[in-house]
Every structure is written in structure tokens, then in C-alpha cells.
Symmetry: D2
């Protein structure tokens, strides 16, 4: 076992204010017997990290000041606790960032992501914008050698997208995606690889709609065009899409989506609305015989296996969404590029300790 | 083939105003080649019939003046069209009241109840509060001899309840029912017969809660008691119910139900809210990993087979909900008994022509 | 309504002996009120037709002498019975060839293909190797204009393949196909379009294995090579395939397949073994936690909608399997080409009456 | 932490010959950091233990001489390893006896029971016919206080039965059970509590058939009566059972069961045939559209939660199957009672160390 340094570089939420702090004297985290110490090599910036960076209302309510941020990463195992038996030092790994209690019904039936006591790395506990990260052995995911680092760094959000696509099932079915931020864009490629029929996409951003086409969308629509629901209906044999992936969190998209969802169709909801949304339950859901699936995180670990299978099949394209690769020290540039809309996904290289 | 009279008794919505008209000179309906003429013997009064009787806003918008009302019934086949091959004169039958187009995807995959062009008897077209009723052969359901007339008369609402219970599946799972009108009450017995674990019920009406216990509820709660959600959580191993059947349509019940539904749980929504309901989608559905199923009508005809199986098993009790059996001529008494809350289900005997 | 000729050309099983008879004086079939008369334009030759042609033991036991053969076709509606309401003269159509009783549980729940009283056109009753064919309106399938005639002529076997692929679900999963006759070959393209991960194929015929690659197989193996099961295991992360489509009916393929199916995997069985097969149930199925699905026909009509969706998506290639297009009068050449192994699928053009 | 004795009483397979050895000087097992030491209080004798006792061919091939036998038990946690965090000393517990590798796809998706590297306590590694037993923390199942010791001692086989019943789903469906050894008998009560419709049972033993009726079977049939399949068909609306639980492992029962299974029905196979069984795959499975589910062990841990829910509902009766409660020292009597057919389930009280 190599000896580790005492301190490391980390990006911390050091103060209850906008920004993150470059913290080169952060103590290396402490391991418990079942923990694994990972030397992080690459980390992705999530929209959630941007919320924390901007210190919005949600962040102020949820984020403990002092925490090391970040939850998307790949790295190498550098040390294992004395009770660790399945993961070896040197293995290239990512990890599921939802740390469940391990003993409740969701945790013991493959649904630790909805454990009532879940801790999320980079949110509730220290995360991966740092040279070292500690996670329980159970959460470690060995990364197949055929998956490159920049992709391995974003398995967390890719897994969100896989979970959203696979929960309703898209094989041979028409799919509408409302909102193509990073997760929506990845969902296009996943839906294509997973056998979707027609894929239709709406968003307010023309550039993202272009990227959507590149990733496999059959047709795209500006969400501000009042005719898009009618167009979507036309493109789906005049019946509406069979599957709808709601990834915008926008009230109008949500209401429009319910209107055109096919009778008997399924919506997987991932996008987070900032405020309560009024639904016309009888017409939107009940008379329509619709199914609504709430999606967050990744099934533990069914989603991870689906993701690996899709990546190794060679049929899933996600490269186009990784628009920026920068060094950790340049993190401010990364956040700015996200704020300007220039960046889709930013992956940061973490310097070796 | 017996010769039929030219006219019959029917209860019609003769004028755009409250009430129904006893119409003894109503022409016997005309058959198309694939239709079956049924001599109605018993008919149930539905809450929807009461809306039509009271001529509320929904009825004014939907009901064509002049229509014969009623959609719950049993009777005997008295004549069949020349293209009918599967139903014989003399057979005791009920019928599925949703007349689908027969050729769209829902109609051809067992989901005619959500056909976009569906007509419902007693609502869009002439119904069963009459001595004779015409339905397509495909909609006819032969009634097993072991099922008594008063039960056979209400297979339509019983089927709604069966559909709601069977869609999420209750076998070995804890069940919350919010709202025990007639369908909610029947759902208790169905859930019990279908293998539910703990069954918990809320309503605003103490008498209905007593009946709920008689039908198999393990515990009942007044919906006006602010502590009921906490009590329900306690009774479900502190995790909330796994299955929730929403049968009230009441905004507060809907909001409370989402709060206590177990993470990963399923709600089957049948109750119709009169107005849009505000939902906190992230907390109610998304973070919870909940599944919401919109339920109406009956699957055609999976639900009917499930219902028959449950009835013939001898384990489904629904007698206690049939509180009134009256003659058709006394229909005003039936509606009054429903309005006063005295009646749960009223079954009317239809006089032979 | 056009007047029809009294007689037509048909290929009949006129005598209990090998061969089919060119029968130009066959009476045009009689319609019942709910029937549709179809002027056949193209018909495919099935392996079953070859069995009938060769008059093997199965045919001798099942086929009524005198029957018009054939069950794969496309044509145009030329007349409809007086009780037909949904299909118009002039529509280009194919049809589901399983004529169920229409009133049993399978028939009324989307499973008419497993009705105990099912009649199959071209087998139990007159089929489509003829200028005219009669089927009940309910069985008619209008063919979308984007689907060309030669493909429309073989929706029946394509549907078998779609049913086999979609029953276990292949989205993002590894798939083994044992046996690539015509249905197995089509299943490759379907599995690819439906989102399969790795597709691995075995057969005894090198030419068919080449075609398998062209249609989307990732790897192919000679079934006579004793190492193929080990190779398949290697190609599936050393765990065996998640889904296995058994389309050979060969005892050794069946036994080998069970050995390498992944624990928890699913096999969809379509191929018909001529004799009983010995299975080691504990090791093949029970300890493995395997699921075995018996597949025949097409779900009525879920499979047809899946097939249409896959065809219209533009991602399903089946052209390469249609190796021969001939005139009906040359049917002997078609059967010979099948017997020699030269033909995969033969489509016959039927002369206008 | 209490100090433990160095040795304990255990029943060991001390020699490669029939019988078990009372071994009072057996060393208390050694714990790894994540292990839990359980002081066993009650243990059930399984049919598998009887095979080991009798030293049949299977045992000779599988059982390592020297192993402590037994895998059904309840006890109290007496010590925990230093890396154990979720289980406290003093908790009354049972445990899942399948120790998976913890890191393969089945293990990480709730299917550790079909891990390719699984070790089973009392078979591959030391078991619970002893005063102390060591299992990994992850396998420990805290037993709810409302579940009595004698039932808690047999959660392992009860879980087999729950898995078999819940895998096909029985809610509102007709069920045939072939073979009512201990697991089959428990399955009757489970199917009843889980909402089965008609439950029909066959066995060769009249006494067990009587017990079957007591536990909730609607009708029972001697398996030697050649008419039972016809009778079963009559009792299931002339269509055959929708669900079949095969718990005999007997070739004739297997063949008869396939013949009468309803078209589209599902069989859950648990019984282990000693030899390969010949199946007529086309008629038994393919044309019938049947589904065959291989069942072993318990889903980890979905089955355990279903079992707890059924037990706590108060609707599952299993007392009648626990026919004998004896002291561990009298184990010979227990095995003899099983051999004579006098005992159904024997539970042994384990003396405190």
C-alpha cells in the first residue's frame, strides 16, 4: 500500500456565497474499514455543481458549507480499507454517488438511490472535485478498459439518462424528449442505441437542437413554436408519442407533453420544476390511461450494467456532448462556459497528488 | 326470433335541465348487422348518472339531450343481428359500455377503453335505463350462472375497481385507499381477495369508513384528521404504503397521498378532480421514484376475466355495497337516496316489456 | 362494388401426395357478412408451405386435402361483406392468418394466436396462393404506403420474428440466435433495430452465416464447431448471453443453448423440434433462474404495431432475405430453389383475375 | 462484547457415510471483519439435510466432508466484526444462506441467489446445526418481533415457496400445485394469502393432500389417479390453470402439468428431477405460448420483504406444517420422522452455549 499525502487539492464550498474555493491544503479524507480511497483523475461538472457554484436557493438549503463538491468522476483505487475484499488497488473505477443506508427495503432491493437516508457525494458529503475521494466498496464501479477516461468521468449523468430511457422502455417505440440539456442530449444517443423508433426533440436552444440531430434525433422543434405539439402528433401516426422523456422541468413543456402523449403512453420525468405545476389530472393522466415514472439517480446497479452494455456495444455516441476538457485549476473557466451556454459537458483533469 | 315491441320504457335526458324523464313511448333501438339486442332486467345507478340527473357543468358539456341514460346492467339477449355469430338469444349478459372504433392501436391491443373515438353507452349514445339496449356483439359479456343478478348489474363499476386494484398489483403489498365512494368500497373487497397485505382507508364519511372495515379494511382514518398521514406511515413499517389507490379526486387527499406514498411506490388514480391540482413534482414523484397510473374504464377484456375469476373464487364480498334494490319506476327515490348519502349502490329492476 | 369472376387460379393440395396443383378453375371463395374479399397481388412461400408441398408426416396428419395453400400475402380489398364497417374496397392490406374463435379468453385479451380453436389460413382453411382470399374483417391489416409490396407480402413470418425478439426484450442486452433460417435471419435485423447489444449467431450453413453478418450479427459460429459455446461465453463478458432466440428446433442447439444462457437469462423458443428433447431441468432452467418463453404466431395485434413501427423507422433491413421474386405460375421453381438451399425467401407475383 | 467459548456443539458430516455426527468439541467459527456471529436458537431440518444425512449420490458429489450442516435457523447476534455497522449485538436474526461473490451482475442486481460463485451455508461452508454460525453482515435478516421463533427458524424454505408463488404472480388467477412436500404445502398458504383464485393440488400422499385442504387448497387429487388432469381442466373453466407451481420434480407430474397448463399460462419450476426429462417442446411450450420460470433460492432481498409482509399481514398460515419441535440432541429422531413420512417440518431447539 502506497503512503498517501496528508493534504490535497480540492474545490470546496468554503463560504455561504457564490463561487468555489481552490483549497490546496484540504486534508485527505479518512477511510473506514469498508471504504476505498480513489485517486481522482477526471471529473465532470454537473448542472447541480453549477447551482452550488451560483449558490441558489436550493443550494443554500441543502449544501453544508465546507463540503468538497463534485460527483462525476473516474480515478484509480489507491488504498482499500481492511475489510475491503472485492476491489484491488490500481483498478480504474468510478462510483455510484448515492450512499444508501444499506439496510432498508430500497437499499436491499436494487433501489438504494431512493433510500430515505441516502447521502450523495459532493452534496451531503465530500465529493470528487479533489485529488482523493473515499467511497464504500459497495459503491465502486470498475470501469471496462474499452471505455475512455472522458466518458468514464461522466457515467453518473450518463446513468441518469440511461435510467430515464430504460425505465419506460423505448424499443420499437416513438419517443419525445422535452428539454435537451446535457442529460437530454445523452438520452437521444441512448434511445437510438436502445432501439427507439422515431425520436422527436424540443428545446428552446437552436444550437442544442442541432446537436440533437447529430446525436440521432429524427426531428427537432423549437419549444417556443406553438405548433410543435401538432407537428409531433403528425410525425407519430397522428397518435402522439408512445414514450415521453421529460427533461426540461419547464411547466409549459410538462403541460404540452401531457396533452400530446399517446393514450396509454408513458412519461419518464427527470427534469426538476422549480415550482409546483398545475396538472389537469383527469385529462392529462386518468382518461388517457397514462403512466408517469419518477426518475432520479440510477438503479443500483441494474442501470450501471445497462450503461456498460450500451457503451461496449459501440452503438452509443456521446462524444459530441463533451465539449470542454480543462484542468481542474481552470474550473472557473468551466463554470463560465456552462453559464454562457457555450459548454455542454465540461470534464476537468485532476492533477496527480 | 321473437318479435319485439315498437316502443319501450326508458329514462331519458329529455330536456337540458335537472332530472330524468320516464319515457314509456321510446322507440326500441335499431340494430345494425353485428349488434345484439338485450332485454335489460337490472340496472345500477352510477355517480355519473347522478351528475347527469343533476345536470352539472360536466353533463351540460358532454351529454346529448334526448339520450337514454344508464350504463350498468344485466339482461338477456332477445335478438341478434344477421352478422352475429358468437352470442345466442336467451343468454344472460352484461356488456362493456365503451364502444371503441375497433381498428385503432388501443382497440386492437386490449385497450379499447382509451380509444380516441370511444362512445360510451348512456353518455354518448343510448344506454341501459330502458327495456331494451343495443350493443355490438364484441362488447357483450356472458354472465356466469354463479353470479347473481344484482351483482351482474354492476359489473361496470366493479370492473373500474378491479382495474384500479390490478393495475398496480396488490399481492402481498400494503395498500392505501383515499376515498371510499362506491368504487373505493368495492376496491377494498377486491384488494382483500387479490391478496393485499395491510389495507388502510381514508374518507370524510364515518359511515363509509365503518362499511370499509366490514369489507376488509385493516384500519380507517377520517380524512379531516390531520394526523392520518402519520398514522398510515406508522402502520406501514414507517415507510408508507406500497400501493395507493386514489379514488377521491380531492386535492388534499391527492397531495397528502403523494407525501406518504413509499419511495418506489405506485399510485393508481381513478378519482376525478374537478379542477387542476398543483403537484410538487420533484418531491411528490421524481425523488420518490414513484409510478403514477391513470385508470379509467376496464381493460378490454383482461379486466373482465380478472373480475369473473375473483367473483367465482367466492372470496370477493360486494353484497354490502348494494344497499337499495328498487323498481325502475321509482328511480327518483334512488337518486334521492344517493343524494342524501343513504344509498351506496342502487340497483333498479327493469320491468319486462 | 365490382363484380367478381366465378373462378380463379389457385395452388391447391389436390391430392394426398407430394406437390401442389395449379387449379385455374377454383371457385372464388364465398363471403360471410363480416368477411373481406382480398385480391392477392403477392404471396410468400413459407417453410410450412414446403412441408405441405413435400407432403411430410406432419402435413399428412394436419392438412385437409383440397385446401388452397399459402398464408403470407399482400393484396387489395375488392369486396366487403354487408356487416363490414372498418375496411374499404381498394385498401392495400395483408391479414393475420390465425382466425380465432373471437370469444375465448386468449381471443379477447390480445392472444388469439393461442386460441384453442384457431384456424390458420392455408392450413386449416383456404389460403392465399390464389387470386382471391377471404378473411374476417377483424383480421385485416391495412399496409402503410411506405412499406413495399415484397415486404408487405411477408409480414406473417416477419411478425413471427418480431414476436420472438420483442417477447424477451433485447434493448441493450446481448443476444444469441441459434438457427438462421428465414425467421432467424429476419430476427437479426429486428434485434439490431430494436436496440440489441452484441448479436451472436450460430447455424450449420456458412452462406446463411454470411448473410447473418450482412444483416447485423456481430459474430457468427458454425454450429458444428464444438467450441462455439465457449466462444459465445467469451464474447458476453464471460457470462453468457442475456437473451437467446432458439430458431433451429435442433436438439443439440437447444441443449447447448441452455448450457451457455446467462444465469437469469431468457430464451424465446420458436424453432420446432421434430421429436421430444431431453432437458436437464435442474441445471438448464431451475438453478439458472432461467425464463423460457414459448413463441408462435404473432400477438394480435400488439406484434403487428411493433412490426409497423420498426419498418417505418427505416432502421430495419430485410431486403437481403428476399432472394427470389417469381410469377405464381412458376411456383415449382420457387419450391425447388428452397429445397436446394438457393433461396431464402421466395415471393410470388399473383396474376390479376 | 461478550466473550465466546472456544468450542461448541455442532452436527457435522464427519465421515463420507450416512448419518451426522454430534460434535461437542467443534471450534467456534472464525469471523472476518464484516461477519456477524449468531448464537443459533432454533434450526429447521430441510429435505436437503436429509439427503446429506442419507449420503446420497448428490451429497457425495457436493458436500465437503467435515462441514457443519444446516441452513434454516433463527438466533441472536452475539458478536459483530469490526467493519459491521448495521447489525447490533442482541438482535434476533435469521440470514440468507446464499453467500454470493457480491460483485457480479446477479449479486449487484438483487439476484445473488444465482451468482455463479455462490456458497451455501450448511452445504459448501459451515451451517447452522451448531451453537454458533458466522455469516456476512449483508446476509443477516432481522426478524420482526411478531414472527415466532419456530416460524423464524424456517424462513429459508418459506422463502423458496414465496419466491415460487410470487414469480409468476397468483393474484386472481387459478393455480395448480404438483407435489406438496414441505415447500408445496407452504406454497398453498402463501398462494391463498397472496390472492390466488382456485387452488388445485396433486400429490401421491393422501395425508399431505388432507393437510393441503386444511391450508387452503380448494380441491386435491391423487397424482396416481389418471383422471386428475381432466378434473383440473373442468375446475378451471375448461381451460386449465393459469399458473402451475411444479414442486414434485417427478417426470410424470411435469409432463401432465404441461399438457393441462392453460394456453398462455406460466409454470414456476422448483422441484428437482433426478434425471433428464423428455419434453415435447412444440406442444408443451411453443404452440401453447407458455412461460417457464426456473426458481431456486430467494431473490435477495425482494423475496424476504414479500415474506415478511405476508407473515405480518396475519393471513398466512404455516403452523400446521411444523409438526415436530425437538431438541438438537434428538436429531436422529427428527431425521427418522422425516424418513417415515410422519414429520412434515422438524424444528430443533439448539442449546445455549
Amino acid at each position: 500500500m502506497t503512503s498517501l499525502p496528508r493534504t490535497m487539492v480540492a474545490l470546496k464550498k468554503a463560504r455561504p456565497a457564490p463561487g468555489l474555493s481552490w483549497s490546496p491544503e484540504t486534508p485527505v479524507p479518512v477511510m473506514k474499514p469498508r471504504d476505498v480511497m480513489i485517486g481522482v483523475t477526471h471529473a465532470g461538472i454537473c448542472g447541480t455543481d453549477r447551482h452550488i457554484y451560483e449558490w441558489d436557493a436550493w443550494s443554500q438549503a441543502r449544501i453544508p458549507v465546507g463540503v468538497t463538491t463534485g460527483h462525476e468522476f473516474v480515478g484509480n483505487v489507491v488504498q482499500v480499507g481492511p475489510a475491503v475484499s472485492r476491489v484491488a488497488v490500481g483498478t480504474r473505477v468510478s462510483a455510484e454517488g448515492h450512499i444508501g443506508c444499506g439496510f432498508c427495503e430500497p437499499c436491499r432491493t436494487g433501489n438504494g438511490h431512493i433510500c430515505e437516508k441516502v447521502d450523495i457525494i459532493g452534496i451531503d458529503i465530500d465529493g470528487c472535485f479533489a485529488q482523493f475521494l473515499v467511497v464504500p466498496e459497495e459503491n465502486v464501479w470498475p470501469v471496462h478498459p474499452n471505455i475512455p477516461d472522458k466518458v468514464a468521468a461522466i457515467l453518473d449523468p450518463l446513468g441518469n439518462a440511461v435510467h430515464t430511457v430504460m425505465a419506460p422502455g423505448v424499443s420499437g417505440r416513438s419517443v419525445l424528449i422535452t428539454g435537451v440539456g446535457i442529460i437530454g442530449l445523452m438520452a437521444i444517443g441512448i434511445a437510438r442505441a436502445a432501439g427507439a423508433g422515431t425520436i422527436l426533440v424540443t428545446d428552446v436552444d437552436r444550437r442544442r437542437l442541432e446537436l440533437a440531430k447529430e446525436l440521432g434525433a429524427d426531428e427537432t422543434y423549437l419549444a417556443t413554436d406553438p405548433d410543435w405539439p401538432a407537428e409531433v402528433r403528425k410525425r407519430t401516426l397522428n397518435q402522439g408519442p408512445q414514450v415521453w422523456l421529460e427533461m426540461s422541468g419547464h411547466p409549459r413543456a410538462i403541460r404540452d407533453g401531457f396533452k400530446i402523449l399517446r393514450n396509454g403512453g408513458t412519461v419518464a420525468m427527470l427534469g426538476l420544476a422549480s415550482n409546483p405545476v398545475e396538472l389537469d389530472l383527469p385529462n392529462d393522466i386518468i382518461f388517457k390511461g397514462a403512466t408517469v415514472l419518477g426518475i432520479n439517480g440510477r438503479r443500483m446497479y441494474e442501470t450501471w450494467y445497462q450503461m456498460e452494455s450500451l457503451l461496449l456495444s459501440g452503438r452509443l455516441r456521446i462524444d459530441p456532448v463533451i465539449t470542454h476538457q480543462i484542468d481542474l485549476v481552470d474550473f472557473e473557466k468551466g463554470f463560465k462556459a456552462m453559464q454562457s451556454g457555450e459548454a455542454i459537458k465540461v470534464v476537468m483533469r485532476v492533477p496527480k497528488a
